[in-house]
Symmetry: C2
Subunit: 467 residues, 2 copies
């Protein structure tokens, strides 16, 4: 007869202790396939537990297929559940080792100052949504996003980016990386996608991960070289025309028209316009989007709230051309929305009450002040004589070309030794690093306080100026 | 001299009116390429506006490349910005026409009763997070999700699903559809993925959209036929072993071991275990997951909070085998998390304070009561004599095979005419609809109140019983 020690004082119920014990014996082979188990009554008496306990354990074993029951003959161990192979121990991989060096001044580019986030207002809107929209918050959002948010996005685009879009064209998604995944499924992974080179380094990884080919196309002073675009064999091109990342080039109207013309000339050619930091333009009003000039209906407009609000919100959107809507319904329309309804409604309210406008205008001033502090700290340092600065008219970073005889790697290394982290431009080249301007580094200033730039510049001075 | 009517009373600032007017003239060709614009001073005097206004408009045109400036000679229209092609009018596609028929009783399967959502508690936790975690809420979550949530998921899995997992193995993402996209990038789209046939209809669409091939594999009484799995050429198999969707089969231990053995026998074979409704098991305690038996480290465990909490939250997770972690870091580790930090922290708190356990136990009882009401309403109706019911032990739906001589389409049609929406089983077959049991419909009961089942059954009686 099966004999187990069951602990009546244990947290695990008796039936489960019995279930586990029998299962263990079956798995180990101590109970052989086909072997008859004691009747419930007998086992209960033997183990001095109630018959109900045995019954519950047996039903569990039965439900999971460890035992079978034959009417009027009882319970039998199932024939095929013993493990024949030895069980290998679990392996653990080495955890990824990440650098833990802390820099007093880190000129990261992928950062925003979350201290500027309008937390009180956002929290109030959230609470309001909890009260006002209780039911809707739990409903799954439509695949393209909740209507009020799409309407607010259209209103914002019309007012601030000159884009006339219909909510029907808008797709809300969990960040631009997700939206790119969707877009590649929409346009097809058999396409070649032309990417700006240099450009945002994750981009080519995303296209590769999705199985699409990319063609890196170099830039000149006006942005992506359209003469090379034709040669690239691409039928879609990814652009940051408002403010190129990382070079800072603003694509002039003539070049924009050439790209639009390229798109019109081929069947199924599309332009992906990433308007990632268009809110941050300091010298004149924000430049209109290419989508505004898109009379041939070939521009997919892409933007997120990561820079303008907070990266943790994970809300981005794209505006599809009318010509792609049917294809979108067909190829991607079945996907559920990836953004919680709760966040969508709150953001819609934030937009409709003017909170977003006020917030953007406040942080634009703040970042402008930071940029000005950085520029003036550099200008009044000993670095000034051998620095050339570009890309400062917009966005949240500048480029420094340092003509002190050091190469890029040495600039980064010596800066690091003096507590300042700067980033090498060559890291942003997908291919043809040889074309990278020499001795050029990137300084993102959004995450550093205005008051700190003088000290940061002093550190750079020590690092880069001959003693 | 350029003459425009500028409206000083308009909402649009004067400089922008001027900018738009000049740009319009450039685009239309009224101002030719190379043409010289009037000086700022002259134009200001001519239009009776301030010189600053003209200057702002000109800088904007300059920034966008519509005009160029030559030192000491003034501003000139850029040579290449006129549009040569005629501008085609925007097309609009016909909006998708969706059925708007309202059924008094809709036995949908993809629904949960959001009225059961613990709204007050959730709102309290949300508010608490707003206060306690203010800073963290704005930080981008790590790619695999915030650590406290991953830890809570592991604790839950250990306690309720018998799975021992490390937070390092957990990837949190915006719903199971997104996680599947990620998983296909992880395992490779050159793989063949075996899918249960019948199964969840969106599945094969997702695999297709991602460019992966699928092999539909039929089921027998114990779940997916492992003898056909080998023949399918697949090296990954997608399973719902706790409760097959839609047939309701619970895969017994013997079959599970056979699948695990299949995985061990080939290099790089993996099992994707979708545990989508494991919380809803009514007769015995929840059956342990296959992942618990995964000694060879070949099971990817997938689950979401869509059924157990609310579909609108968009939080799912997968538990990767250790053997795939390095590959994950390499292929997908660069993707940002798709779930707002805010939701992640709130859910972690909901899990750690026991709110989730209590909620699941409450709704399990509720859904069990609904199932019982439905079963008893059917049993006491005139339908009882020619109905055969299956898949009722778990989950949120049952299968009805109706032996009254009607085929599936007629059953659906006549039910609809009597105000009841039921769903045909054949819709869930990816291929080989011929293998579909005849005259079988699916009734999801999670969205209908217990008190309504008697009326719904009466309607079905009218629809399906001979007069």
């Amino acid at each position: 007869m099966l004999t187990y020690h069951l602990d009546t004082g244990a947290k695990i119920p008796l039936y489960e202790q019995l279930y586990r014990a029998v299962r263990q014996d079956i798995m180990s082979g101590a109970l052989k396939g086909g072997e008859r188990l004691p009747s419930k009554r007998k086992l209960a008496a033997h183990l001095e537990i109630s018959q109900i306990t045995v019954e519950t354990a047996y039903s569990q074993l039965l439900a999971e297929g460890y035992i079978t029951s034959r009417p009027r003959s009882g319970y039998f161990v199932h024939g095929q559940v013993q493990r024949t192979a030895a069980v290998p121990p679990l392996r653990k991989t080495a955890k990824q080792i990440t650098s833990v060096i802390k820099y007093p001044y880190d000129f990261k580019t992928n950062i925003v100052d979350t201290a500027c986030f309008p937390f009180t207002l956002w929290a109030r809107l959230l609470r309001g949504q909890l009260t006002d929209r209780a039911d809707h918050l739990l409903e799954a959002a439509p695949p393209q996003g909740v209507m009020v948010l799409r309407e607010e996005i259209c209103r914002y685009l019309a007012e601030f980016r000159g884009i006339s879009a219909d909510p029907e064209q808008v797709v809300v998604g969990a960040g631009s990386e997700y939206l790119l995944n969707l877009m590649i499924q929409l346009l097809g992974r058999e396409n070649i996608y032309a990417l700006e080179n240099p450009g945002y380094p994750k981009l080519s990884r995303i296209f590769h991960a999705c199985g699409a080919r990319v063609a890196p196309v170099p830039l000149d002073l006006y942005g992506l070289r359209t003469d090379l675009l034709e040669q690239s064999g691409a039928n879609a091109v990814y652009l940051t025309p408002s403010h190129h990342f990382p070079l800072g080039v603003v694509m002039p109207a003539a070049r924009r028209l050439t790209v639009l013309q390229w798109a019109e000339e081929g069947q199924d050619r599309y332009i992906i316009e990433d308007d990632y930091d268009s809110e941050f333009r300091y010298s004149s009003r924000p430049i209109p989007a290419m989508k505004e000039m898109d009379h041939a209906d070939r521009v997919i407009y892409l933007n997120t709230f990561a820079k303008s609000l907070a990266p943790s919100l994970r809300i981005g959107y794209m505006v599809l051309p009318y010509s792609l809507l049917e294809q979108f319904y067909h190829r991607c329309g079945f996907y559920a929305s990836t953004v919680p309804s709760f966040e969508q409604y709150t953001l819609a309210k934030f937009l409709s009450t003017g909170g977003f406008e006020r917030h953007v205008s406040r942080i634009r001033n703040l970042y402008k002040a930071r940029r000005d502090s950085l520029l003036s700290a550099l200008a009044s340092s000993r670095l000034a004589s051998f620095l050339s600065i570009s890309g400062a008219e917009a966005g949240l970073h500048i480029l420094l070309t340092v003509k002190n005889g050091m190469d890029e790697a040495t600039l980064i290394q010596t800066a690091a030794e003096h507590g300042v982290r700067v980033y090498g431009l060559s890291d942003y080249y997908i291919a043809g690093q040889g074309a990278c301007p020499p001795s050029t580094v990137i300084l993102g200033y959004a995450g550093i306080q205005s008051a700190d730039f003088v000290n940061a510049a002093a550190c750079l001075e020590q690092a880069w100026c001959a003693k």
